[in-house]
């Protein structure tokens, strides 16, 4: 849609006709200060479309104070190759004419045609309000309303959706939202938001559960009732049978019979016990008799044995006696041999002692000679030492004094040298001897003298020369020398020598003498370590020993030829001792054996005679006979008793008293049990009857059948409601899903356009739109990553920018859907900073490639770089305005 021409007359500020021609297909910028008429132009365009020509609510269109005016707007635009012309007058001359390529329409028909074309509505009555403005309300931004987008979109909503929908080839459901609301409500009656049963559904489930429980309970009781009925039948049968048989009486009779039999058997058992005791007594007597007879027999056998023993002992004694002579002879021989061996040993030992003493004597003689020699030598050395020590005493020289002397000599020597060095040297060469004297000494020939003190040289006749050696040193040296000379002299006198050399010689002599003394002392020491006296004592002791030895030897016999050695003799003595000991032992053994044999014989003899005496007695014979007869009698009695016992036991075993006793017990108990059971059954029967009568009166099965009816209904209701809940749930999910899908499809193209503009403002940003196609959240790339802001929470300036971008995006969508678009901006973007405004200009310029834009502003400087020449609105009202 392109607006070509606009003419306004008798409208507010413009009392005179004002016409704007040659509108550009893109941006048209209208500038001018406040109150210059920009808003009047905008109002004129809006009124031309939105207000009914008949409306009386448009007095604001009249110039101030001119109630006779007929405000008129004339518009021409081009749409899809057709030229539309609209002329609308209000108030004083109400009229509307539209011609489309020459086809004329008028009145409300003309107005409705425009409304259809642009997508807005007329009010029922009164002035047009925002909710009627539809799509133009969105695209024509009023002063200061650019930031508000929510309401305009809402008002344009149905137009937008139908336009967008048809562009997608989709038809939204006209009844959808109402249906969803309805189904949500229906579902909420049965299910909670989380899908749990509620309301009737929950009640039905509870009722079902309750009835199930009741039913199960009742079934249990019916089962119990039936079991009791069966039990009753069974018990009645049993009772009838038992009452006929009276079984316990038979049991009692059997018990009695068994008891009678048992008493009989018990009597047998008592007899058996008696006989058993008699048998035991009898058997004991038999054993006693047998013992007695056995003893008698044993004694007889013992007598025979003892006789034999006695004979054996006699033989043994005889044998011992026979050994006696041999034993005694052997002993005597052994004693003789032993005595001889003893003598031989004594002799051998004496010989050996004499030999030893002789050897010691020899040795003592030798030692004595050595001692004599040593003693002589020691005495000699002792003498020598005494002499040397005396000599040494005379030669003694003090070593320290000697050292001092040597030192004084050395000092003197050094002083002499120094004197020579400092002394006045007097050299002479005299041809005439003796003519000259020095300090009285005649000089002759060649020579040299050192002068240390003033000296006078007498030159004979010639007079004399006095020489005075110079320097203090000379005098000092002379004084020192004198001191030293004194020291030396004193030392020499102390040492008792004439000179140092003499002292040295004496000193050497002393040392040699010391050596000799030490040598001799050491020799003496080795000869007589304990002194001379001790040595002499030792010699005397040795002498005494020698004499003792000689005496001892003399006391011993002379050695004989062929004597035995001591060891040999001792060996022989040992052998003889052993033999003697053996012989003695043999003899002692013999004696004891003999004694034993004698005793054995004695005792054997006495034993035999005692027993023999006993057995030969008359009582004894009688006793034996009696015992034999008694035994025979006892044997017979025993046999008889055993026989009786065996036979009776057989009888008892046959009767089996244990089993009899059990029988008695068993039959008695059976009878008791049967009677008790009958009694219990009677009681149970009564109980059962009472219980069944009570239960029967309750009409359990009928109640159960009734309950079945209720239960079946509860199940049906539960199932129905469950199915309905499920179905409602399914419906809700499906409808919501599809609706969402559709919304997404609708949003997509708008989103695309939005983002295209947004890139010019904020790179990489995106603006999401909600279900109603209203911008919702702006996502930008900030310094700290992604920033999200709800549209409503953005700054005023940003909201205005976003609002404009959104409107442009809607315009793009409308254009794509083949709908007319015209964008009017009245004083837009006044809250944008320079940079943003710059970017927004790029946005506007881009949009102007596709849409016609009318931009009104009181800040011409801000828009200078929009690429179009501004039109000054202030100049429009001027009559001078030319019109081609």
């Amino acid at each position: 849609m392109r607006l070509l021409r606009l003419k306004v007359e008798q409208l507010r500020r413009f009392r005179q006709p004002v016409e704007i021609r040659d509108l550009d297909a893109g941006i048209n910028l209208f500038t001018g200060p406040n109150e210059s008429g920009k808003s009047t132009l905008v109002r004129a365009i809006r009124a031309a479309f939105f207000e009914r020509y008949k409306s009386s609510s448009v007095e604001d269109l009249q110039p101030w104070g001119d109630s006779a005016a007929a405000p008129t707007v004339e518009l021409e635009f081009e749409w899809q190759g057709k030229r539309w012309k609209l002329v609308k007058s209000f108030l004083k001359r109400k009229r509307c004419d539209v011609s489309v390529d020459g086809v004329a329409f008028s009145g409300e028909e003309a107005e409705d045609k425009l409304a259809d074309l642009l997508g807005f509505e007329f009010p029922g009555r009164g002035a047009s309000r925002p909710e009627h403005w539809g799509i133009p309300g969105l695209l024509w931004i009023e002063q200061g309303a650019g930031h508000e987008i929510h309401k305009p979109v809402e008002h344009a909503g149905s137009h937008l959706k139908s336009v967008l929908g048809s562009s997608l080839g989709e038809v939204t459901s006209s009844a959808g939202d109402a249906l969803i609301a309805r189904i949500t409500k229906e579902r909420a009656r049965l299910l909670t938001a989380t899908g749990r049963p509620t309301g009737d559904f929950a009640t039905a489930l509870e009722a079902h559960e309750r009835l199930e429980r009741e039913h199960a309970d009742l079934q249990g009781r019916i089962r119990q009732y039936r079991q009791q009925v069966d039990r009753l039948g069974q018990l009645r049968d049993e009772q009838a049978r038992d009452d006929g048989e009276r079984i316990w009486e038979a049991y009692r009779q059997q018990a009695r019979a068994a008891e009678v039999r048992l008493v009989e058997v018990l009597a047998w058992q008592r007899e058996q016990e008696r006989d058993q005791q008699a048998l035991q007594v009898c058997q004991a007597s038999v054993r006693t008799s047998l013992d007695l007879l056995g003893r008698f027999e044993a004694q007889r056998k013992d007598l025979h044995k003892r006789a034999a023993d006695r004979d054996v002992a006699a033989q043994a004694l005889a044998a011992q006696e026979a050994r006696r002579p041999a034993v005694e002879r052997a002993l005597a021989d052994a004693r003789t041999a032993f005595e001889a061996a003893r003598v031989a040993v004594r002799l051998a030992r004496e010989q050996q002692q004499r030999k030893d003493l002789a050897r010691e004597l020899e040795q003592a003689d030798a030692e004595l000679a050595g001692l004599d020699q040593a003693l002589a030598r020691a005495r000699e050395l002792h003498e020598a030492l005494l002499r040397q020590r005396g000599l040494r005493q005379t030669l003694h020289i003090d070593a320290k004094a000697l050292a001092r002397l040597r030192k004084a000599e050395d000092e003197l020597a050094r002083l002499a040298i120094r004197q020579e060095a400092v002394a006045t040297r007097l050299q002479f060469d005299l041809r005439e001897p003796g003519a000259v004297t020095l300090a009285g000494e005649p000089l002759h020939g060649q020579g040299e003298r050192l002068l240390l003190e003033p000296a006078e040289i007498v030159l004979g006749q010639l007079g004399s020369l006095r020489i005075l050696p110079g320097g203090d040193d000379i005098a000092d040296l002379v004084r020192k020398r004198q001191g030293l000379d004194d020291d030396r002299a004193s030392l020499l006198s102390v040492l008792g020598v004439a000179s140092l050399a003499a002292a040295d010689i004496r000193h050497e002599q002393c040392r040699e003498l010391d050596g000799t003394i030490r040598r001799d002392e050491s020799v003496l020491e080795s000869l007589a370590p304990e002194g001379l006296e001790a040595l002499a004592g030792r010699r005397q002791l040795k002498q005494a020993r020698r004499e003792e030895l000689a005496r001892l030897i003399a006391a011993l016999p002379e050695p004989q030829q062929g004597g035995l050695s001591v060891s040999r003799a001792e060996v022989q003595l040992d052998g003889a001792g052993e033999s003697l000991k053996a012989a003695e032992a043999a003899e002692a053994g013999f004696r004891s054996a003999l004694l034993l044999a004698t005793q054995a014989l004695e005792s054997a003899r006495s034993e035999w005679s005692r027993l023999d005496g006993e057995l030969q007695g008359a009582d004894r014979r009688q006793h034996e006979k009696l015992a034999a007869e008694q035994l025979l009698e006892l044997r017979a009695n025993e046999n008889r008793l055993e026989q009786a016992l065996r036979e009776r036991q057989k009888q008892i075993d046959l009767a089996n008293p244990g089993v009899l006793r059990q029988d008695v017990e068993r039959f008695t108990r059976s009878a008791d049990a049967a009677e008790k059971a009958a009694e219990q059954r009677r009681l149970e029967l009564e109980r059962l009857k009472a219980s069944l009568e009570a239960l029967g009166a309750e009409g359990l099965e009928e109640r159960s059948a009734e309950l079945d009816v209720e239960l079946a209904r509860a199940v049906r209701r539960k199932d129905e409601l469950g199915r309905r809940a499920g179905a409602l749930d399914l419906l809700l999910v499906r409808l919501t899903d599809h609706r969402l899908q559709l919304t997404r499809q609708l949003q997509a193209p708008l989103q695309r356009h939005l983002n295209r503009y947004l890139q010019l403002l904020f790179p990489e940003a995106s603006l999401s739109v909600d279900e109603a196609l209203v911008p919702e959240i702006l996502v930008r790339q900030g310094l700290d990553g992604e920033e999200r802001g709800r549209f409503a929470e953005l700054s005023f300036g940003a909201r205005e920018q976003m609002g404009l971008i959104s409107r442009l995006a809607y315009a793009d969508l409308l254009r794509e859907a083949g709908r007319p678009t015209l964008i009017i901006l009245d004083d837009a973007l006044v809250h944008s900073d320079v940079e943003r405004l710059g970017n927004m200009k790029r946005v506007l310029f881009d949009a102007a490639q596709r849409h016609q834009i009318l931009l009104f502003s009181c800040h011409p400087d801000s828009w200078r770089d929009l690429g179009v020449a501004p039109r000054d609105v202030a100049g429009l009202g001027m009559p001078a305005a030319p019109s081609p």
């Binding site: 029967g696 009928e702 499920g726 409808l735």
Partner: protein, 374 residues
């Protein structure tokens, strides 16, 4: 000569879980009123005895009130009633019969045959040979003793038993209690009155099942009758008249809907069914949304006519037509949801899809209705 009313399987105390409680109650009551009608017939026809062949009560432990009401219902006929226990009310050690006696509910003219003993009615010219069941189930033929039972000569011999005739009734008998097929012949019975089979059935000239007087299940085996038996003389062949006494026929109707006229035919059939019937209707096939509305209206009418109407629509798929959708403004995504559900009525989620479709259709219809009235 003797004339009997032969009936059986009253099943007093029976309840009907599959029906709505009010219907179930009415059907239970109907059984008692059937007995009242039997008593009336016995009285009008002046029969010599009413023979009841077992299963008088549906259970042993019916309420005292029910017991009393039954015996009261028999009051219109003062002649002898001979009742035997069946498998539902067997003569156990404690049974509904012992209770009835304890309650003093049994009138003097009502003879409870609780043991296998001949009951002679010489003044009326007949003797009854009863075969009461004394256990819930028995594998022995309780009528065997009839063969050797001695009755006074000249008396008509009538057997009274409850069970299944061997080799004849293979199916549907809820008791294994066997009865020899040739019992009437072997025991020289003039007539053998049987119970247990709920339909009227002739086994041979002398052996009949009377069936229950009031139908109690969907089984078209001729129930709802009582037998009027005339025995001209001992040994003569009995004349048996089948008389209908039931009030509530039980009818199962299965219809398949494919084309539009099927629905009309079904509705017509439903309208043709007798009043007071117990009807079980199951529909299969496809139905469009507006057809469903029509069906529901017809069912609502029918429900009021019948004693009970149960409908099973679980195999009926809702198939909205383009017209339906247009009429319901089911455009856009709602239309797509409908299309999805239509598909799913065939799959594993069929039940839920069908229900959802029905709800959706109902809501849309309602909305449309509001739209039209507004």
């Amino acid at each position: 000569m003797p004339r009997f009313l032969h009936t059986a399987d009253w099943q007093i105390g029976r309840q009907y879980a599959r029906f709505a409680p009010e219907d179930a109650l009415a059907l239970a009551e109907a059984r008692l009123s059937a007995v009242e009608r039997l008593a009336d017939i016995a009285h009008q026809e002046a029969v010599d005895a009413v023979l009841v062949a077992g299963d008088v009560f549906d259970a042993q432990t019916v309420s005292d009130r029910t017991i009393r009401r039954l015996f009261n219902a028999m009051g219109a006929y003062a002649g002898p009633w001979v009742l035997i226990p069946g498998n539902h009310d067997a003569a156990l050690a404690e049974s509904v019969w012992t209770r009835a006696r304890r309650l003093g509910a049994v009138a003097a003219n009502v003879h409870l045959a609780l043991s296998a003993q001949v009951m002679a009615f010489p003044e009326r010219g007949f003797a009854v040979l009863p075969a009461p069941l004394t256990q819930r189930q028995t594998a022995a033929d309780e009528t065997a003793w009839f063969d050797h039972a001695v009755t006074a000569p000249g008396l008509v011999r009538v057997g009274l038993a409850h069970g299944s005739v061997q080799g004849v009734l293979a199916e549907g008998i809820d008791s294994p209690n066997p009865i020899a097929a040739d019992r009437a012949g072997r025991a020289a019975l003039d007539y053998l009155a049987l119970g247990d089979w709920h339909g009227t059935r002739r086994i041979d000239a002398r052996t009949w099942y009377s069936g229950t007087p009031e139908q109690d299940r969907f089984k078209a085996n001729d129930p709802g009758n009582v037998l009027l038996v005339d025995i001209p003389a001992a040994g003569a062949e009995p004349k048996v008249e089948v008389r209908a006494v039931g009030r509530h026929p039980w009818i199962e109707l299965e219809e398949s809907l494919a084309v539009a006229s099927d629905l009309e035919r079904t509705i017509a059939r439903l309208q043709a069914l007798p009043e007071l019937a117990v009807v079980d209707l199951s529909l299969a096939g496809e139905l469009h949304l507006l057809g469903r509305q029509q069906l529901e209206a017809a069912l609502s009418v029918a429900e009021a006519r019948f004693r009970s109407l149960r409908t099973d629509l679980s195999r009926l798929r809702l198939q909205p037509t383009e017209d339906d959708l247009a009429a319901l403004h089911a455009d856009g995504y709602v239309g797509r949801v409908i299309a999805e559900l239509r598909e799913e009525q065939e799959g594993g989620n069929a039940e839920l899809a069908r229900e959802a479709m029905a709800i959706l259709a109902a809501l849309l219809l309602e909305t449309r209705g509001q739209g039209e009235t507004a």
